[in-house]
């Protein structure tokens, strides 16, 4: 395989910016694609070449395989990096890239396909000796079969879509009487959402922790595991806060998880960066959940504790280089990531689209901001509401938490509501600070982030009274400017609300 020269990034936002930085540092030329809505986005400006690929809706641009392959041909790119989301785990996209004579930065289409069908993934893991959640590994033929499996495995169970993943397409069954109607519902939902109505069963594990292992594999038999990430602070299966190492994992468990993950990678002939997700039960047992065949959103925390650039390794592996990393990598310190998303945590995480009027980014020792927005950026209408990841590193967990508190205090975003108050609250939560929490943490948290401190009450009241007095002397033009933004925001909010309510 020849060394890569010019790479096209089929993505946008923070991950596109992050990949661009490594590519350019490696001396590669960078081509990006952008939709009509993204002309002024940071990733467009940072690339060497930017090619428009269609209208704002993702289906017409970032999910448009033909347009992206065309863009690669026009620009003379020799490789495509898919980032995460969009087409990153689409085997048909990977195949199209390869058919066009380009290098796809990721594993083979076959591996993507088998890991994408969760029943296939289970079978492969079982054969490789990786523990899986008690359940079945073939699409259920009928509700009657489902009953038999549920009886064998024990209630409660989850009915899961074989073509699903990322927390989508799951239904909880707590009593046998519900099994048949839930099976019907799960099948039709799976058909509608994923185009494949296949459903299987896994036992429901109560109060689990979500722990995942980062892998690098070069497709030549060399696999390295780069420790675990704890991702249990999630809301409706969407991660909000991640940390590495996991406070729940000791050396022995780390070894066992790592060995299981490496077995998984070798079993499928994995190539590239990948992640094996596990559920850690309260009794200390762990089970394979799914394998993600791409770089993950939360990869920076692994990078911070190992002093490594995972995207750089993706590029090296894609260009055919051998994975010459030591067998036993030792991490140093502790890292935490807070996802800054354009949702209002005080309104049940309702989407908060709008224009960023003002942005002040925290920095300092151990503080990393992976962001895809600048002032003037319109957020949250067409794409994912993730605007940035705030990541900190400390010599120990305590210092990391302290630094994250400071960074979250320094962060100023005006124009939209974000998850910032949620993160500020969690960084002071005794449960989180003790390290003792599970995936039910957010649901059980009584919305502590909605509270207003006495100091804030007083300051806000004072400020409002003072501005009220000033405002009575202000010319009307200032008010009109505000009104224009509100029209835009109102329309965007209507769209986003429609999606959120589904």
């Amino acid at each position: 395989m020849a060394p890569l020269r010019r790479i096209l990034i089929a993505n946008r936002g923070e991950i596109a910016v992050r990949i661009i930085r490594t590519c350019r540092a490696e001396g590669l030329e960078v081509v990006v694609v952008y939709s009509e809505a993204d002309q002024s986005e940071p990733h467009v400006k940072l690339a060497d070449q930017a090619i428009p690929i269609g209208k704002a809706p993702a289906a017409e641009s970032y999910l448009n395989i033909a347009n992206i392959i065309d863009a690669a041909r026009i620009s003379g790119a020799d490789a495509i990096h898919p980032g995460y989301g969009f087409l990153a785990e689409r085997a048909d996209f990977a195949a199209a890239v390869i058919d066009a004579g380009l290098t796809f930065v990721g594993p083979s289409p076959d591996v993507m396909r088998s890991m994408g069908v969760k029943t296939e993934a289970r079978k492969i893991m079982e054969a490789a000796g990786v523990p899986v959640v008690p359940g079945n590994s073939d699409p259920l033929e009928s509700a009657a079969e489902g009953r038999r499996v549920a009886e064998a495995v024990g209630l409660p169970v989850l009915l899961k879509a074989a073509a699903g993943g990322g927390g989508k397409g799951m239904r909880l069954v707590t009593s046998m009487d519900d099994l048949e109607p839930e099976f019907e519902r799960a099948t039709s939902e799976a058909e509608k959402s994923f185009g494949d109505g296949s459903v299987y069963i896994e036992r429901y594990i109560d109060r689990p922790r979500h722990v995942e292992i980062q892998l690098l594999a070069d497709g030549r038999g060399n696999v390295r595991q780069l420790g675990e990430r704890e991702c249990s602070i999630q809301r409706r299966h969407q991660k909000l806060i991640e940390e590495a190492p996991s406070p729940a994992v000791d050396g022995e468990l780390r070894g066992a998880l790592g060995r299981a993950a490496c077995s998984a990678a070798l079993a499928v002939g994995y190539q590239g960066a990948g992640t094996v997700e596990f559920l850690l039960a309260p009794d200390g047992k762990f089970y394979f959940l799914e394998m993600n065949t791409r770089i993950q959103v939360e990869h920076p925390i692994t990078e911070m504790i190992f002093g490594i650039d995972l995207v750089r390794w993706q590029l090296k592996i894609a260009s055919g280089q051998e994975l010459d990393l030591p067998e036993h990598l030792v991490s140093r310190g502790h890292a935490i990531e807070c996802r800054i998303i354009a949702e209002d945590p005080t309104q049940d995480f309702m989407p908060s689209p709008g224009v960023i009027e003002y942005l002040e980014i925290p920095t300092g020792p151990g503080v990393r901001w992976d962001g895809g927005v600048v002032e003037g950026c319109a957020v949250g209408l067409y794409y994912d509401p993730l605007i940035a990841k705030l990541v900190v590193w400390g010599e120990d967990r305590e210092q990391a938490i302290g630094r994250m508190r400071v960074a979250l205090d320094e962060l100023t975003i005006v124009g939209i509501k974000t998850s910032q108050p949620f993160h500020r609250s969690v960084m002071r939560d005794p449960g989180f600070c003790s390290g003792s929490y599970h995936t039910g943490f957010v649901a059980e948290s009584a919305d502590a982030w909605c509270e207003l401190s006495d100091a804030d009450s007083m300051h806000f009241a004072l400020a409002a009274a003072l501005v009220h007095k000033q405002d009575s002397h202000r010319p009307p033009s200032a008010a009109t400017r505000g009104a224009k933004q509100n029209l835009w925001t109102a329309q965007a909010r209507r769209e986003a609300l429609r999606n959120w309510q589904q």
């Binding site: 005006v414 108050p421 007083m458 004072l462 003072l466």
Partner: protein, 166 residues
């Protein structure tokens, strides 16, 4: 200038007299600095905080470090008006229904002895080129009706009384 600022059920009395500011009667060394757009800084003593201030439907939305809340600010005049409205509501609670504005009585649907629901129309009054249905403030029975269709009334004119029942 005296203000009442209400935020999440709490009330603060703020008086601004040139550079002298008091909060609930105590002097406070405070200053609001304009940074541009909706960005401000509030200085209280030696502490400076970045804030965003934007007009909300009924007040100001204030934000700091991602936390937002709406503050309703009333000066003396708007507070008096609000309290007057409360007085009118108090009168209506006693069962006496009065004309809220001068107008022409178009239709009287209240009759003595009629049982009415809370919010049910009693008198149709034309005022400011619009028809206004004057409603019963309570559920009960009409005790007296003082006007008839075709009559013009002044603001505050007695229209009917309703005795609360049930």
């Amino acid at each position: 200038m005296k203000y009442t600022a209400s935020i999440r059920g709490k009330s603060f009395e703020i008086e601004v007299d040139g550079d002298c500011i008091t909060l609930d009667g105590d002097p406070v060394d405070a200053e609001l600095i304009v940074r541009g757009g909706s960005l401000y800084q509030l200085r209280v003593g030696g502490e400076i905080t970045d804030l965003s201030l934007t007009r909300a439907a009924d007040g100001w939305e204030v934000g700091s470090r991602g936390t937002f809340a709406v503050v309703v600010v009333e000066d003396r005049r708007s507070r008096l008006l609000r309290e007057l409205g409360a007085t009118a509501a108090a009168i209506s609670r006693s069962g006496l229904v009065v004309a809220p504005m001068p107008g022409l009585v178009l239709e009287v649907s209240a009759t003595v002895g009629k049982a009415v629901l809370e919010g049910e129309g009693l008198v149709l009054l034309e005022a400011m080129k619009m028809e206004n249905q004057i409603k019963s403030p309570v559920a009960g029975r009409v005790e007296a009706v003082m006007v008839e269709a075709g009559q013009t009334v002044e603001r505050g004119a007695h229209l009917a009384t309703v005795r609360a029942e049930g």
